[in-house]
């Protein structure tokens, strides 16, 4: 009954009577494009403590079952909080465009 609209209308007929929106990832687009620094995790040092996941304001760190964190670079805004809070200091903020080839 509730119109689950979250695509932009092509005509007035597609528009609801009043602006209500449906939840969707990437509501403001691929915010990864905002970054000037990319967080890079050293998985050898990482002890899967999940602290980075806990503190990420964007919820753009995904966890494997064993707690291995994966940065979602499509949406990570590059704030650097994960690098700051990591107890093992194994996240490095690398200037975008200057990453070493892995």
């Amino acid at each position: 009954m509730v119109n689950q609209v979250n695509t932009e209308p092509k005509s007035r007929a597609d528009m609801p009577k009043t602006p209500y929106s449906a939840p969707v990832i990437g509501s403001t687009g691929k915010t990864g494009s905002w970054r000037t620094f990319n967080p890079v995790i050293d998985y050898d040092t990482c002890n899967r403590c999940r602290t980075c996941w806990l503190y990420c304001p964007e919820a753009s760190i995904d966890l494997d079952e064993d707690g291995t964190p994966h940065i979602d670079y499509d949406y990570c805004k590059g704030c650097g909080i994960c690098a700051q809070v990591c107890p093992k200091k194994c996240i490095e903020m690398v200037r975008a465009g200057q990453e070493e080839a892995t």
């Binding site: 689950q4 009043t18 602006p19 449906a22």
Partner: protein, 392 residues
């Protein structure tokens, strides 16, 4: 249906029981106060089965109604004058959120100075908010129009909030008989409210009210305009159903009395329209071909019915119990605008009076009508606007 005897305000409180309203949020203000007082009593005695929020201001009252209606509940409030003005932002909000809230407004002067008597400025100044507006003239009409208001508001072609205005003290506190309907009798006419478009529910999360950029805002507003205009047709259907189910009819958007062969028609809103009946009868007895047209539905403006009426008459004596400062009577000017591009353009003489509760008697109305009759007979319109009974 049974006959009860009580004031218009108390009858309004009964209407929300009959209409199975689920949430009321209201704040006291003279002369609307006895509406929430009576609802409080009915609530505490278990006769009103919904929730009653004893809010701390009128702004909060309308936003509480908005919160409730957004969560799928049938919501209602009552207020007057400064209280209506205080909730102005909320009125705009409810209309643009397309929430079918009903508000009983008891017309009263806005301040300063303090004046607790009837003037129509309060609701008239809210005519641009998108709220559908009715003006009533009897206890029975007030009670039933409130019930009808929910039906109009909740219709999918409308989904706009509705304001029903009654004159302060002259009507709100006048005790009269009216025909009361039990909730079970109303059920067939007014089924439970089911929001057809959006509702707050964690089982199906949506966000209402996000930013809309210039690309689309205009189209949302266009839809509101169309929806408001739809209300005319919807109200026609509503009155037809009401007549069929309850044998009652209040005259449609313009309640006309002896207009069919009238040369001069007196238009007005609210209780002055009821007094006009006697004035028309007396003038008719004196040989004048006059009629009265009480504007019941003011927004959307009943353009076609007004043009149809204009096709039959030579002049309108249009009475406003309020004024839009710097331009004149609200309804008189709207009538003129509605007629401007129609082939029927009788003169429209505007009369402003009855402000601050100044009495408007049958003799006052006769005087006004005869002033317009004189204009017709002499061929000279005279002043476009006259303030009636103004102190020299």
């Amino acid at each position: 249906m049974k006959t009860l005897l009580m004031s218009a305000n108390y009858a309004a409180a009964r209407a929300i029981v009959s209409a199975r309203v689920e949430v009321v949020a209201a704040y006291p203000i003279t002369p609307a106060t006895t509406v929430p007082e009576q609802i409080a009593l009915l609530d505490e005695e278990g006769i009103y089965k919904g929730e009653f929020i004893r809010v701390e201001s009128e702004h909060s009252a309308m936003f509480a109604c908005i919160g409730a209606s957004s969560t799928g509940a049938r919501a209602f409030t009552a207020t007057s004058s400064n209280g209506l003005l205080l909730m102005d932002e909320a009125l705009h909000w409810a209309a643009a959120a397309r929430l079918p809230i009903v508000l009983a407004n008891i017309n009263r002067s806005v301040s300063p100075p303090w004046n607790i008597h009837v003037t129509h400025d309060d609701s008239m100044s809210k005519r641009d908010t998108g709220w559908i507006q009715f003006y009533v003239a009897s206890v029975d009409e007030f009670y039933h129009t409130i019930i009808q208001a929910f039906k109009v508001a909740e219709d999918e072609r409308v989904l706009m909030p509705v304001m029903v205005s009654a004159d302060g003290f002259v009507l709100s506190h006048t005790v009269s008989t009216f025909d009361y309907l039990e909730p079970e009798e109303v059920d067939e006419f007014l089924p439970p409210y089911k929001p057809p478009h959006w509702v707050m529910n964690p089982d199906n999360p949506v966000s209402h009210g996000n930013i809309v950029f210039p690309e689309y805002y205009q189209e949302f507003r266009y839809q509101m305009h169309e929806a408001s205009k739809n209300a005319l047709k919807v109200y026609e259907e509503v009155e037809r159903d009401y007549k069929r189910l309850f044998g009652k009819y209040f005259g449609g958007p313009i309640d006309q009395y002896r207009c069919d062969d009238a040369e001069v028609v007196f238009t007005s809103q609210g209780t002055v329209g009821a007094e006009a009946i006697d004035a028309i009868d007396e003038l008719r007895d004196e040989g004048y071909k006059v009629g009265a047209a009480r504007v019941r539905m003011y927004r959307p403006f009943p353009v076609e019915p007004m043009r149809a009426l204009a096709s039959k008459v030579k002049a309108f004596a249009s009475f406003d119990r309020g004024v839009s400062y710097g331009f004149g009577g609200h309804v008189a000017n709207d009538i003129r605008a509605a007629l401007y591009h129609s082939p029927y353009r009788p003169i429209v003489k505007s009369y402003i009076g009855g402000l601050g509760g100044r009495d408007v008697t049958v003799d006052d109305i006769k005087e006004i009508i005869l002033d317009t009759v004189k204009a017709v007979e002499s061929g000279e319109m005279g002043p476009e606007e006259t303030w009636h009974d103004l102190l020299e």
